[in-house]
Symmetry: C2
Subunit: 235 residues, 2 copies
DNA sequence: ACCTGAACACCGTTCAAGT
DNA sequence: ACCTGAACACCGTTCAAGT
């Protein structure tokens, strides 16, 4: 709406990488992932689309930078208590962050080895080390947790964006799924039939925490057994 | 290349939904996710882009249909043995399928309650029931497994598509990540520093199976809550 | 009923030209 | 050094017009 240029030659309002990143976050939060276009961003910053390319490499670069800005701030605020509690805190913080900014989901997916992912992987790995997990199992334990945390958070974000794109609220979204599932043949879908009733009032956040606890229990039980409890024979 | 029209008026080659879906799969497999455009698809089928809309609703509809075609075939071929072995077989089959067709990753993400997901959820839930997990924990156990399986498979697919887009093979891709991680300050990243050496030769498939076993162990240990979990797993 | 293909309303990115 | 904005090479989707 208001073009900053009008007011006067304030140096602070000139284009900069940080400037552009913050404007991108606002745009992504207000208009969703497909709301971030170079034209819309340029208009908000009262410039032309080409000018942005002086400060950022491309759209992927911009998305990762916007993502890292939020992830860095969030992860720096996690209190460290016991290992399991800290892992739960990191997991929940990321879940809530992605829930509040669904576009983070795809940003994290498309930059697997980049800084944002490291900011989550590192504290979880440290707590796995603090739990006393043997060296050769640390990667397995941490990777499993990490995959679960990112997987759930991203699917949650995707659901939210999907509902938004179709102009459905959460209740309607779940209703569509529940209705579809209840029309399946119960003989062929005994499991889905038994859980379909719980779909409408389930709590994504509670389910997420329960999953974290299943994995933490698995990590603990693999350690406490002197012999490997789940020996695989063949694929 | 060859326009079917030339040959003659073969009725079998006229446009149909099934026709379009199979051509889409070929296009997605050969050219990747961004290779599927209505113009390219129309050219391959020797027609115009508008004609496709007579048979399919939109691009999302097309992607889900193509996805379901592959998932249905794969899931129908899983042999049912013991619960844990069957769960591993389902998980591995989906992992390998998405690995071979990375575009399945986004197709599954963008249709959470749809048929393709149900085809995986149902057999896993059935085996969780067969394991004797109590009713009120079945959703938790199945959902945790499902989230992990889809999460890992999708990230794997995303990595593959990322590497493809940058014209990197797997070795180079891992090298980029390993190099970036080894340049981080080891004091601030004690965990990442210890695992960076194993990045270049890790096996995604083996890591995936190890994660499945962690979760299965967690499910087993949560069931026998009071006693130490020394139950034999081969049922 | 089914197909055609031009047209609409967009994209990300580039680049000669400006200051 | 930094910005402008037209231009390029695309998209998904629509729709009047054809058969």
């Amino acid at each position: 709406m208001v073009k900053q240029r009008k007011g006067g030659p304030r140096r602070e309002e000139s284009l900069s990488r940080e400037n552009i990143i913050q404007a991108s976050i606002e745009l992504l939060d207000s208009d969703g992932e497909e709301g971030l276009t170079f034209r819309a961003l340029a208009e908000r910053l009262a410039t032309g689309p080409g000018a942005l390319y002086w400060h950022i490499a491309n759209k992927s670069d911009l998305l990762i930078a916007a993502c890292d800005s939020l992830v860095a701030r969030t992860m720096s605020q996690i209190p460290v208590t016991t290992p399991n509690e800290t892992i739960r805190a990191v997991a929940l913080a990321l879940f809530d962050l992605i829930d509040a900014h669904p576009w983070l989901g795809s940003a994290l997916t498309s930059s697997p080895g980049a800084l944002p992912v490291v900011r989550v992987l590192e504290p979880i790995g440290q707590q796995i080390q603090a739990l006393g997990v043997p060296d050769d199992q640390q990667w397995n334990a941490t990777g499993t947790l990490m995959a679960f945390i990112l997987g759930v958070s991203r699917q949650n974000a995707a659901n939210r964006q999907l509902a938004r794109a179709k102009n459905l609220d959460r209740a309607h979204f779940l209703d569509v799924v529940a209705t579809a599932w209840s029309q399946l043949d119960p003989k062929e879908h005994p499991f889905v039939s038994t859980v379909v009733g719980r779909i409408r009032n389930h709590d994504d956040r509670a389910d997420f925490l329960a999953g974290i606890d299943v994995i933490l229990a698995g990590i603990a039980s693999l350690q406490s057994n002197s012999r490997p409890p789940l020996k695989r024979q063949r694929s």
